[in-house]
Symmetry: C2
Subunit: 117 residues, 2 copies
Amino acid sequence: MSIRDIAEAFAQLCKDGRHEEAGERFWAESVVSREAMEGPMAVITGRAAVKAKSDWWYANHTVHEVTTEGPFIHGDQFALRFSMDITARESGQRIRATEIGLYTVADGKVVEERFFY
Amino acid sequence: MSIRDIAEAFAQLCKDGRHEEAGERFWAESVVSREAMEGPMAVITGRAAVKAKSDWWYANHTVHEVTTEGPFIHGDQFALRFSMDITARESGQRIRATEIGLYTVADGKVVEERFFY
């Protein structure tokens, strides 16, 4: 699959609300997930740990709506723009936010995801 | 200036339609500008050459509207999303397109800009 094929397939799964399936299908075993924050969630390494982070996130947030725009491609990277309307379950705080996910692909898999906000 | 200060100032100049001033103020002498294409415009190195590329672009396109969203920040990088409504002067083709610019900052200056589309 070309970078465009991978980016389009990943984006389509996100557009269909199947973010977890996008990860399961495309994360490399050694994938690194980077958040723009300090603390234990800042850098998560390895497919199982990244899936656990994703599971934690879904368990702790109610998702009202997420829309995905993209992909935007350059070389071996693609970007997606997410607009989210969510509620953090513990605080009850409703959050509307937009962020950019930047994905680096090698050998047909996502080896790094980096989130900007 | 922090990365957030630089990103906010750069984004504000773009939002005000002052893209060239953003470059003049923040491009490092050694800035590298990368487009997601083949050919001579793919990688342009150095402030003077990047300015010449920018000047070429403005001379060859009529800008009806550009809107800038962001900044989205991660570490020493920030992203902006541009929605453009332009006409290519030579062909007369009107183009509405959205792209992501990813900027890498070092010592208070943009050392790389990379465009995704």
